[in-house]
């Protein structure tokens, strides 16, 4: 199979005093999807921008299809399609004009650019809107056009930076399906996401990054096995009640994490574990006032892997920082 489609080694990048990447490394095999998973500000966008030759790294190596992004950016550009975080399309052109422009600037001839544009508009459900100005498009249509523009020259490697952020659920599912089809056809994809669910649905491998470093690499099932598929949240009336329940649970196979007066118990057995957990609590001096089950999230992965919550979720938890069990 030869070299991986994407090779990243010890990549570092700072903006003045702000360190975005502190030496990250990973590889992506040809014809697979890798999800770059991490909270805001973790370095996902910087990584993808360097791979797409939009930014220069301070240090380290990045190669796409064997071509070095620093020494041969022109060579890399022939192999890649890139859709950044914001729908980078011209609002005062029509959808088709946008695609034809990007196609022509990607070295397709005028004829071929036009043919590919029409094909892609159809594939992306934009045929009816193809001759309308993009400023009349909805956010979801804009995003679809943006991803289509990354594909117009049919690159073997595509970079998608948070492709489904801001999309309605239907468009999100549709885009996932489209990415799966592309990869089935041999394309290699690197996409960034904040959603574990998205990485789970699409990625063959997930690279979790935080504060510019790789925290963990693995397949989605392997990651979930470490975190559990479900999280049971037990809410107590007071912190003292939660304390009592926590020490009682400590004698059971379930390890709980404290967040104020909430106990979180991770489970590999989905919601079936709820009964066992409640049974384990039987005889404790306090009983929960509320029980909720939810699917494991990125925050849970971070909690499990690093012992700290993501910044975004820490801010979202009322009453301060969610702390994992040490």
């Amino acid at each position: 199979m030869g070299e991986a489609a994407i090779v990243v080694d010890d990549l570092a990048k700072s903006y003045g005093a702000v360190v975005a990447l502190e030496g990250i490394g990973f590889e992506v095999a040809p014809g697979t999807v890798t999800g770059l998973l991490g909270p805001n500000g973790s370095g996902k966008t910087t990584t993808v921008a360097i791979l797409a030759t939009a930014l220069r790294p301070d240090r380290g190596v990045a190669r796409v299809c064997g071509r070095d992004v620093v020494r041969d950016p022109a060579g890399v550009r022939q192999m890649i399609g890139f859709a950044g975080q914001f729908a980078a399309v011209d609002a005062n052109l029509t959808g088709k004009e946008n695609l034809v422009l990007i196609g022509r600037l990607s070295r397709l001839g005028r004829q071929k650019a036009r043919r590919h544009a029409i094909e892609l508009a159809e594939r992306f459900g934009l045929t009816d809107a193809a001759d309308r100005l993009v400023r009349t498009y909805s956010g979801g249509m804009r995003r679809r056009l943006d991803v289509a523009a990354a594909l117009v020259h049919r690159p073997p490697v595509i970079f998608l930076d948070e492709p489904t952020t801001g999309l309605d659920p239907e468009s999100r599912l549709w885009l996932w399906e489209t990415i799966r089809e592309l990869v089935a056809g041999g394309t290699t994809a690197l996409l960034t996401t904040q959603y574990l669910e998205e990485a789970d649905a699409l990625a063959d491998e997930v690279v979790i990054i935080d504060h510019g470093r790789v925290v963990e690499v693995g397949t989605p099932p392997a990651l979930k096995a470490r975190v559990g598929t479900a999280v049971v949240e037990l809410t107590f009336a007071t912190g003292a009640d939660a304390d009592a329940a926590e020490s009682h649970l400590a004698r059971s196979p379930f390890a709980a994490e404290r967040a104020g007066s909430i106990l979180r118990v991770r489970s590999e057995h989905g919601s079936a574990a709820v009964i066992e957990i409640l049974r384990a609590l039987d005889g404790a001096s306090s009983a929960p006032t509320g029980v909720a089950i939810r699917e494991a999230t990125l925050d849970d992965v971070f909690l499990a892997l690093t012992g700290t919550a993501t910044e975004a979720s820490a801010a979202a938890v009322p009453g301060g920082h969610a702390r994992g069990a040490a």
Partner: protein, 276 residues
């Protein structure tokens, strides 16, 4: 008609035109593609066209009919003195559109996308300034028509008019590179407009565009005598009035070529900086 590619794996049918393509041909075709896009966009944002033409027309009417009666320039009907200034003012204020448009591209992420395409690096800026050149030619032609409608006459035939408009166009081309640099540095459409207006206002109104420098206080006279808009309008007037023009034309061309060279370097540096 939609024809699917014959390749069994259509998404791998690739490397279009890769290494064989000639760099110069690539630069030219890409510049034309970017230019075409900008002209198309311009034609669809009427406010930009209005800004480019309606405002100078209002200045023509204002100076021709409201203020003009009070301004006396020895030996020349005021309308003939005014129009060279109007041409310069129209392209100077229109040049702001370059910075605004480029800042919009930078903000929307389009510049970033261009950097990831296998396109000529120079085409992004060259295509933008070429489109502005076309726009400026249209603007000076329209303004010449407006001038004739309000009584402006050339005293040196079509050659004099053509020479004057060419000088204006060259100056405009140099300015648009300066505004490319500004647009790239501020990367925000409103900020680009805000930064551009005072500079152009000072440059145009401290020049001999509307009134002779001799009527200005000494300090302003000194500023006005040493700046490109005065050099341009002096050369235009010499050409249009059929006076000896060589010295003034040389001076204006020198200003424009010097500014063009300096601004092109600044714009290129600003463009490279955005990739860091």
């Amino acid at each position: 008609m939609i024809t699917l590619p014959a390749s069994p794996s259509p998404w791998l049918d690739l490397a279009p035109g890769a290494s064989s393509s000639n760099r110069v041909v690539t630069a030219v075709t890409d510049t034309l593609a970017v230019c075409g896009r900008n002209l198309r966009v311009l034609s669809r944002s009427p406010q930009a066209l209005v800004f480019a033409t309606v405002q100078p027309v209002m200045f023509v009417l204002l100076f021709r009919y409201a203020f003009g009666g009070a301004i006396h320039v020895p030996g020349v009907p005021y309308v003939d003195y005014l129009m060279p200034g109007i041409f310069a003012q129209a392209v100077a204020f229109g040049a702001m559109g370059t910075a605004v448009g480029l800042a919009y591209d930078a903000k929307s992420g389009l510049m970033e996308r261009f950097r990831t395409l296998a396109m000529s690096r120079t085409a992004v800026l060259a295509g933008r300034t070429l489109a502005d050149l076309v726009r400026n030619i249209a603007v000076v032609v329209v303004m010449a028509g407006v001038g004739f409608a309000v009584g402006f006459r050339t005293h040196a035939g079509a050659g004099g008019l053509l020479g004057a408009l060419l000088l204006v166009t060259l100056f405009a081309y140099a300015l648009s590179w300066g505004f490319v640099a500004l647009g790239l540095v501020v990367a925000d459409p409103e900020a680009a407009q805000g930064a551009g207006v005072p500079v152009m206002f000072l440059l145009v109104f401290s020049s001999a565009a509307f009134v002779p420098l001799s009527t200005m206080p000494g300090w302003l006279h000194v500023i006005g005598a040493h700046q490109p808009v005065t050099a341009l309008v002096d050369a235009e007037r010499a050409l249009l009035l059929g006076r000896p023009a060589a010295g003034d034309v040389m001076s204006s061309v020198a200003w424009s070529v010097g500014l063009l060279a300096g601004f092109a370097v600044l714009a290129t540096l600003a463009y490279r900086r955005t990739a860091r």
